[in-house]
């Protein structure tokens, strides 16, 4: 049993990381007061951007191509999210409709461009990130085997971003303003905070992080852009809710969901897991989220003003 767990652990972590970073992006957006269900589409944009950039750069500079690809995914993801920001912040649009439009535009437009460039809807990259063992730490009994062997560099990058985000949200003036805009935008406005600016920043963070999430999928376990991230963006949204809009909460939630999904994926091959039907493991995150919504319905930590347009003159 131990052997199986230590074997699938690296896969579970690889699956968790893109969820985590995307969910963290969603946290920035929702904490600033803008609901973003376009995370799925923004991940697709990130996956496409990185695939395109990496496939072009890899022959020229095999070393740095992947990192430039990840950076490009973040930049383009942030730019693409401006569509959502403009609609929901300046035009008081229905944020759910706008987010749905983002998902649909991203899915259609990226495949459209991919087909125009490569002839098929897919873009391959020749090689992704390689796994490596952390020296020394991987020698620690139990923990070392689970967390510090077979790791991707992107995993550590994302965890670093998580740490930085926690600091940014709870320990800086910007973080305080961000949270204020999601709870009481008018009070924040009265205190001299530029609500529009903060919300733009929140949405762009979500675009950049979701873009990175899509790109991480590409450079770690998929290796190919095919126009979809198979609902991971929505799973990230579920994690955000289950983690109650807190950075450490979503770390727990995404790992939980990532582990369950990995179990479902390997349950076909590993006889020990055949006793649990795959369907239960796969629907588990969504059912758990529904139950969490019921349990937290009285004391939900959701940002109070999330989804509500802010108008400067309206009190």
């Amino acid at each position: 049993m131990w052997e199986i767990i230590s074997k699938i652990f690296p896969y579970a972590i690889a699956f968790t990381i893109p969820l985590l970073i995307t969910s963290l992006g969603g946290l920035f957006s929702e904490r600033s007061g803008v609901v973003n269900i376009g995370l799925e589409g923004l991940m697709v944009v990130g996956s496409f951007t990185s695939a395109y950039v990496i496939s072009i750069l890899q022959p020229i500079m095999p070393e740095g191509a992947i990192w430039i690809g990840l950076l490009a995914a973040m930049v383009i993801g942030a730019m693409f999210s401006l569509l959502h920001a403009f609609a929901s912040i300046n035009l008081n649009a229905n944020q759910v409709i706008s987010g749905t439009a983002i998902n649909m535009i991203a899915g259609a437009l990226t495949v459209f461009i991919a087909r125009t460039i490569t002839g098929s809807g897919n873009i391959h990259i020749t090689s992704g990130l390689t796994r490596f063992n952390i020296p020394l730490l991987s020698k620690i009994p139990l923990v070392g085997k689970l967390f510090f062997t077979q790791t991707y560099a992107s995993t550590w990058l994302v965890l670093l971003i998580l740490l930085g985000s926690w600091f940014l949200i709870y320990k800086t003036a910007f973080g305080l303003r961000l949270r204020a805009c999601g709870e009481h935008p008018h009070a924040a406005d009265a205190a001299g905070v530029n609500v529009y600016f903060i919300r733009y920043m929140g949405v762009m963070f979500s675009g950049a992080f979701a873009g990175l999430g899509g790109a991480v999928i590409l450079v770690t376990y998929s290796g190919e852009f095919n126009g979809s991230v198979a609902g991971l963006g929505f799973l990230a949204l579920a994690s955000l809710i289950f983690g109650q809009w807190k950075p450490l909460g979503i770390l727990g939630a995404t790992f939980f969901f990532g582990f369950a999904s990995t179990l479902a994926n390997v349950s076909q091959v590993v006889p020990a897991f055949k006793v649990i039907p795959g369907i239960i493991l796969k629907v588990f995150p969504y059912v758990v989220t529904l139950i969490a919504l019921i349990i937290f319905s009285k004391s939900s930590q959701a940002p109070k003003a999330a989804g509500e347009p802010f108008e400067h003159g309206k009190r």
Binding site: I37, L83, F86, A87, L91, N92, A93, N94, V96, I97, S98, T100, A101, I102, N103, M104, I105, G107, A108, L109, V111, F112, I113, R115, T116, G121, G231, F234, L235, L237, A238, I241, P277, G278, I279, K282, V283, Y286, V287, T289, L290, L293, I294, S297
Partner: protein, 351 residues
């Protein structure tokens, strides 16, 4: 009121126009001739009786998902879960089609009813969660979409496995909504009896919304939940009922798609019709007849894109891109509204 309706129509038309312009820019940007592209796109949807039949069969499913979203909208609910309800309704219809051995008429009636009830049940959960625990229906319907996705992913191979692992057995001709006389009339196209179901649904929903007490109560809850409650209406019951009706409509859409347009269920696909339904509803200003017209328009885009792709080098995804862009413009209709108002003011000022 009449002026407002006209403005709604105008906004819709401008959204469509802007979406088509965006499509034209994309075509030009990728080195294609937009006029040629659009000619083939619309010819592909309308060129002959067979293609019109295909357009109508795509429109059938869109009418029903569009109605589903529009009906929920009128009650103040956002049904983003039409895809999941459609999937589960389709599964119920397919299950009946594959296992019930009875005369054709009975099989079809039971299959359609199963889809209707299945879709309704799938939406019952978000409805109850909303009414009882005030759980936002957008989140819960998204969760239900993915629960449906994985349910189909595992049940189809387990119980209805067909030639491949990824799809169900094909239903027999007798259990299909495709009818020989209709297929012959439209030159071997995919048009099916679902079209009549969709038309009946349009009329039924229009009657419910405009001519019944229930419709009045549902709309009242949509305008202002609290004043409806104060007036003594059972708002919570109405929320559940509205969600279930919306889900049942999406379930019907599943029947028209999986045992009409297609004859198998493929796993691993969340049908885009549910999301396209949002576009259909928005463009149709959430009115049943508006939904009918806009669904036919989107049907043309859907069935014409393949022909356009065959005749030019434009990828078929242009159709989806145009639809998505139209939704975006419909969502940002404030911008269009402001533009209309300022133009109207200028015209008046000039006089």
């Amino acid at each position: 009121m009449k002026i407002q309706m006209n403005k709604q129509v105008l906004i819709g038309l401008i959204s469509v126009f802007l979406g088509l312009v965006a499509g034209a820019i994309l075509m030009a940007f990728t080195g294609n001739n937009p006029f040629l592209g659009f000619t083939y796109l619309f010819r592909g949807g309308l060129m002959n009786i067979g293609r019109i039949g295909d357009t109508l069969s795509t429109a059938t499913t869109l009418i029903l998902t569009g109605l589903s979203v529009a009906f929920a909208f009128r009650t103040g609910l956002f049904n983003i879960g039409a895809s999941g309800q459609m999937l589960f309704g389709g599964l119920c219809a397919t299950a009946v089609g594959l296992s019930l051995d009875a005369p054709r008429a009975i099989v079809l009636i039971v299959a359609v009813l199963a889809a209707f009830i299945g879709g309704g049940l799938w939406a019952l959960v978000p409805g109850l969660l909303k009414a009882r625990f005030n759980v936002h229906e957008v989140v819960s319907t998204i969760m239900m979409n993915w629960i449906a996705y994985w349910t189909i992913y595992y049940t189809v191979p387990a119980f209805f496995k067909g030639a491949y692992d990824t799809e169900s057995r094909a239903i027999s001709k007798a259990a299909s909504l495709r009818s020989p006389w209709l297929t012959d009339l439209f030159n071997d196209s995919s048009i099916n009896l679902g079209l009549f179901l969709a038309l009946i649904a349009v009329i039924a929903i229009a009657v419910i919304l405009n001519r019944t007490v229930l419709g009045f109560e549902l709309k009242a809850a949509g305008y202002n939940r609290f004043s409806a409650e104060y007036a003594g209406m059972k708002v919570n019951r109405n929320i559940v009922l509205s969600m279930v009706i919306a889900g049942a409509l999406a379930g019907l859409a599943g029947a028209t798609f999986y045992i009409g347009y297609a004859n198998t269920m493929k796993i691993g696909v969340l049908p885009s019709y549910g999301f396209d339904g949002i576009a259909v509803a928005l463009l149709g200003a959430n009115s049943p007849y508006g939904v009918l017209v806009s669904a036919i328009f989107f049907g043309i885009l859907h069935s014409g894109k393949g022909f356009m792709n065959a005749m030019t080098s434009i990828p078929p995804e242009i159709g989806d891109t145009i639809i998505a862009t139209i939704i975006y413009f419909a969502a940002t209709s404030v911008l269009i509204e402001r533009a209309i108002d300022s133009i109207r003011k200028k015209i008046k000022g000039g006089k």
